[in-house]
């Protein structure tokens, strides 16, 4: 009798072990993306240690990123205007529509390699990855919501209450928890596995064709003052000769109030650029060909035009032959990172 009971207990214990093993199998066998610094990248501005990635916090940030609860009307999420298949830019939209179909005034930028950014948005108005989401959340033509209301809605949701408590160990949900969780996801958006990256790191799959190699050399020679380094941007604000005046959008001057910043906008990265049309802060160019034509021969003068774009004895621009343009276009395609675009960990989980 006693023996039988013991045997039964032992079996029960084994069953328990079995259940544990199954749990372990069910537990995520994946890593939080974007925690390692790619070997060809500089040191990040927002290293992982500042907000140590965990599965639960990352997944919570992902849920928040794709949740329209963050908007006043409940139908606009971060993911509405930042779509993974186009490097988290907004496909085919020169401007995005926010709540009540209101239109913004600037092209939604790609979200990638944000760990390496000290300032965000076309004018650099947002100065930290954690507080950056407050801009679109509160913008009247984007999500038009208050932080107070977002917290109220999250705290009224049993699922969120439970998940936040699991990650942060306290209730109620605070703004810091919300913003740290969102940053877990946005900081994870690392694009570092394009064909160019494999080439740069001398890895398998890093073969470039003749035109692509020539295009890279032209890019380094003629474009890399601004599209510098492995991130393909020097993070400055420049006037690239789009207009004679900037009455509709003064760009960087909107933030600094300085006349010398009128018409200056953030130099965007070239990574995944083939997927992020339309181009420029106002999405005026539909193709990369149009962009190159603008740099070659489409620029107009204005007081704050970047000195790098002045040519002696000619109007502003960067001289490019037709062959050079063709090679540049070939090279730009090598910056497409399909692994990033199709990474299931970054997709909305259903």
């Amino acid at each position: 009798m006693l023996r039988a009971k013991f045997a039964w207990l032992a079996l029960w214990g084994l069953a328990g072990l079995g259940a544990c093993a199954t749990d372990a199998d069910m537990a995520p066998a994946w890593e939080v993306p974007g925690t390692e610094v790619p070997t060809n990248f500089p040191a990040p501005v927002y290293p992982a240690a500042l907000n140590p990635p965990t599965h639960e916090a990352f997944a919570l940030g992902r849920t928040l990123f794709y949740d329209p609860l963050l908007s006043r009307t409940g139908d606009v999420s971060c993911g509405s205007c930042h779509q993974q298949q186009v490097a988290f830019a907004h496909q085919d939209h020169h401007f995005s529509h926010g709540v009540d179909n209101l239109l913004g005034t600037r092209n939604a930028p790609a979200l990638q390699n944000l760990r390496w950014r000290a300032e965000f948005m076309w004018d650099g108005g947002a100065k930290h990855i954690e507080t950056m989401p407050l801009a679109p959340i509160t913008n009247p033509v984007e999500m038009d919501e208050t932080l107070e209301n977002v917290l109220r809605k999250l705290n009224a949701d049993a699922g969120y209450q439970q998940r936040f408590e699991q990650v942060y160990g306290s209730r109620p949900i605070t703004s810091q928890q919300l913003l740290k969780a969102l940053a877990q996801f946005t900081a994870s958006l690392t694009s570092s596995n394009s064909r160019y990256d494999h080439y740069a790191r001398q890895e398998k799959g890093g073969e470039l064709t003749g035109p692509e190699v020539r295009g890279l050399a032209i890019m380094r020679q003629k474009c890399s003052t601004c599209h510098a380094g492995e991130l393909f941007t020097d993070e400055t604000y420049r006037n690239n000769g789009l207009d004679r005046s900037f009455w509709a959008d003064s760009g960087r001057a909107h933030i600094t109030g300085r006349p010398q910043d009128v018409g200056r906008f953030k130099v965007p990265s070239l990574r995944n650029v083939a997927l992020t049309p339309p181009y420029m802060h106002d999405g005026r160019f539909r193709t990369l060909r149009e962009v190159l034509d603008h740099y070659d021969s489409g620029m107009v003068e204005s007081g704050t035009l970047d000195v790098q774009l002045r040519r002696s004895g000619a109007g502003p621009g960067i001289s490019l032959t037709e062959n050079e343009k063709t090679d540049l276009l070939a090279f730009l395609q090598t910056l497409t990172d399909t692994e990033f675009l199709h990474d299931k960990r970054l997709a909305e989980s259903r």
């Binding site: 500042l50 108005g125 947002a126 100065k127 930290h128 990855i129 954690e130 507080t131 950056m132 407050l134 801009a135 959340i137 509160t138 913008n139 932080l147 107070e148 917290l151 605070t174 703004s175 810091q176 919300l178 913003l179 740290k180 940053a183 909107h254 933030i255 600094t256 109030g257």
Partner: protein
């Protein structure tokens, strides 16, 4: 005999060690006390009454106040010999609508006679760009600009018949970058008084914060030409006024 002397030595050394420790403690950890700081928001000589009070600037412009919030941070006390005490994690948000916010306590202040008090009206540049903060610096407090991120150091809203457009006054003072840095360190005079911090005392400094001094001082603010500022050069004009005299010490309670 051997054992006994060993025991004696052990006790003797223990006693020495213990007393030495005690002496050290006396030397390195002086008694600490507390200091309460209380703020009364006023308009000139009148107490501030939100919405109902009607006031006049030195230019004779009539106005009312609906919101008056500001940050008192990085509070420091200084002794006559120049040594300073800086309150750690020193961030306080004063809101006229929240009586509890108008008093706070500095804890574990080293005992001593302090002859000067200083604090920052605003938030240091580091915390403006340090990511999601808590407590007084929680962006949910409504003192944080999202489109040009950074803290609003002083938020004064109200109305005036002399203000243009919709007659509203919107003075959101902030900014930490040159040339529009509006962070100001103020050190209102103790008028010769000394703040005596002791283990068994609870001194209180009563401060008055004068809304009127936003609009007068080095720069006379005329609501006809300036009724709305959210950072930038016009905010600097107001911040210069605030630095020059928004705070005064009303009195100090010794106990």
């Amino acid at each position: 005999m051997t054992f006994r002397s060993f025991t004696f030595l052990l006790f003797a050394s223990l006693a020495t060690t213990l007393s030495a420790c005690k002496d050290d403690a006396d030397l390195t950890v002086p008694a600490a006390g507390t200091l309460d700081i209380e703020v009364d928001n006023v308009v000139g000589t009148a107490p501030l009454a939100l919405n109902t009070g009607t006031y006049f600037t030195p230019l004779g412009q009539q106005f009312t106040v609906s919101t008056f919030n500001y940050y008192i941070t990085n509070v420091k006390l200084k002794k006559a010999d120049g040594t300073e005490y800086a309150e750690p994690e020193s961030y306080h948000l004063v809101r006229e609508t929240d009586a509890a916010s108008k008093a706070f306590t500095l804890n574990n202040v080293p005992a001593g006679d302090y002859t000067a008090l200083s604090f920052v009206l605003g938030v240091d540049s580091v915390r403006n760009v340090s990511g999601a903060q808590v407590g007084a610096l929680d962006p949910a407090n409504g003192m944080f600009w999202t489109w040009n991120s950074g803290y609003i150091y002083t938020k004064m809203e109200g109305s005036s018949p002399q203000a243009g457009g919709n007659r509203q006054l919107v003075f959101h003072i902030g900014g930490f970058k040159k040339p529009n840095n509006t962070i100001c360190t103020v050190s209102p005079s103790l008028n010769g008084a000394v703040i005596q911090v002791r283990k068994d005392r609870h001194p209180t400094v009563h401060l008055a914060s004068d809304v009127l001094k936003m609009f007068t001082g080095p720069n006379t603010i005329n609501f006809t030409t300036l009724s709305n500022t959210m950072g930038g050069s016009s905010s600097v004009l107001v911040a210069d006024n605030q630095a020059a005299g928004m705070f005064r010490v009303e009195h100090i309670h010794a106990n």
